[in-house]
Symmetry: C2
Subunit: 337 residues, 2 copies
DNA sequence: ACGGATTTTGCACGCGCGTGCAAGAAAAAA
DNA sequence: TTTTTTCTTGCACGCGCGTGCAAAATCCGT
């Protein structure tokens, strides 16, 4: 019998009688911009303190149809960049009064159920930062369930029912491609991740097109099923293994840092080659690891914090104007390319 | 005007009239072990489908005082092991019908508000996988707010109001210490993280005690303010820099892999030394990175999945018996020590 | 101290579903 | 067919708070 079960559930009514006010005044005391006199608020807060009362956000959400809750659907937990995104998003959200429901999209078939899950909690918005949400899933999601807002974070989407907050992949890839050319690399290999969205303007497609346009040659490209360093290591291995030394790429351009890190590991430890002298590597995201002495990865930094802040702007703004937004990041030149 | 605002909120009543049953039957159709005939369930589900109805879990939680929601309070996002824990926990929880509220404990002062946050959502349990929850915070938390369950995951805690699910640090550290001795290392340096809990049986204390007991010597130990590879790199640098080569440790025993990885980076790239030939390194956790060709880290693997499953067992079991549990992991011998 | 302007407080009703039991329907037994 | 037994279905009440407005209290200048 701990002290807490003297009374099972302390409600605003209990606080009201103790403070000598009405229940509504109690709840007002906990609202930010409510019209309440400082004196009564203090009185109420003191009473709440002694009773250990905290407002019940379930009931508030039910009554107001506004939960201040967003669902964050995530897969691709092998990508270290996810941890960065999770931190920045939850920080921006929480700082500005929003809570986060983290939904692990277990596998490809789970995308629908995961969306359903969010819907059942009546969240104010659903944020997708995974890769397993193709257009088909989004379409059915939007028709079958009710989503107040469906936000794709850090990935562009041409779906009209969706708000996309992402880096301008075309501009970013152009900057990368120009850098690669300027540094005189001749035989790039593009290492891409899974292709779930019918993206005509993906990083890979953009890079390949730019390279063709400027050199006349079509660069090689390979892709893996997930943004997982280990998979990157394996595919670089099987790609380079049969090649004569002179046929090898002089740079591996990676869709993101997770792949770049795996590529570097492979180049250095499986082939005993030097980065960037033998084969250079370039990434995307600028994960914390990229700065480590081990990788010194040249990459492109996404402004995740700014994007997260904008996301909360979108949540707080219920206007109906187009809220898609593209951000510009910046290249971070280190030693790997 | 999207199709979804034909009717603002579709409730079980709407489905009921369409299906020709009562509202309660509708909700029963969505419950797992409800007594309902297959025929009517199908009829209800079909009606729900055409209306796009999904049960409202807010209302369900309010009415039943059971939310199937847990709060996960996390800080220490620099530690890559957090991503593993997040994945395993959310997977185990979601697979067995639990949702997760992810609360980013922004800083030391935020521990209280973060707990309050969870309390306001009336979660069925609060899980702490951060480091900023000392005994004081826990004590006030438990007295001031109502928590049905307060679970400390992957860290031992002697707090009686708390359920601790963790690896047996003493047994694990003993195994590590024995390994270090058996391999003939003579001058270990212990690299520890922040000391937030008044832990007499922490990994560091245990290692130091064991080493003293078996060799008579007290090993050096340093600690950093967070489980962050970059901090580990810096402190190893400042620790080794003034040392003569022959005074250097022959092995760095780290409280976890995040620190071990930073230590290896420093040893290899700041000092140009070889791991393990010049200085060996041993970690704890077995993060994915530890297996990479770059680190080949010898470490101790925590059975996170089993611990996560046990956590859900605890949630589903409302018995009052003591639910603390210690797990045994296993050493993973690679090349770093 | 007084009248009007302003701030502060109180309240009826509803948000959507769970609980536990009783009535009704169907199935099994006689 | 009738009587039990078992399975299905319906319902009154409450979970704790928000909304929007009206009543009450407080304030200001004169």
């Amino acid at each position: 019998m701990s002290a807490s079960d003297l009374q099972a559930n302390i409600t605003a009514d209990d606080v009201a009688v103790l403070a000598g006010v009405s229940r509504w005044t109690v709840n007002r005391a906990f609202k930010n911009n409510a019209s309440i006199s400082p004196a009564t608020r203090e009185k109420v807060m003191k009473a709440a303190q002694t009773l250990g009362y905290v407002p019940d956000l379930r009931a508030a959400a039910l009554a107001s149809d506004r939960s201040n809750l967003v669902a964050l659907l995530v897969d691709d937990f092998n990508n270290p960049h996810k941890l960065v995104m999770l931190e920045r998003l939850t920080r921006a959200l929480r700082t500005r009064g929003w809570d986060t429901l983290l939904v692990n999209t277990l596998d490809r078939e789970d995308a629908g159920p995961a969306l359903m899950n969010a819907s059942q909690r009546r969240v104010d918005a659903t944020i997708l930062i995974g890769i397993q949400f193709d257009d088909e899933v989004l379409a059915t999601a939007h028709s079958a369930r009710r989503f107040k807002k469906l936000i794709i974070f850090a990935r562009t989407s041409q779906n009209p029912d969706t708000i996309s907050i992402a880096v301008d992949d075309v501009a970013a890839t152009r900057e990368i491609a120009q850098y690669v050319m300027r540094r005189g690399y001749k035989r790039p290999l593009y290492l891409a991740g899974p292709r779930t969205v019918s993206a005509h303007l993906s990083r890979k497609e953009t890079f390949v097109a730019l390279w063709q346009e400027h050199t006349g040659f079509t660069p090689d490209a390979v892709s893996v099923a997930a943004y997982d360093p280990n998979l990157a290591t394996e595919i670089i291995d099987t790609t380079l293994r049969p090649m004569a030394a002179e046929d090898r790429p002089d740079i591996v351009v990676c869709e993101n840092d997770a792949l770049a890190i795996g590529a570097i590991d492979c180049i250095k430890h499986r082939f005993g080659l030097k980065v960037p002298q033998d084969i250079a590597v370039i990434g995307f995201d600028d994960v914390p690891q990229a700065a480590s002495a081990n990788y010194r990865l040249t990459t492109y930094r996404q402004p995740i914090s700014a994007m997260a802040e904008y996301l909360v702007d979108v949540l707080e703004n219920s206007g109906t104007e187009d809220m898609d937004k593209m951000f510009l990041g910046k290249m971070v030149i280190r030693d790997s390319a």
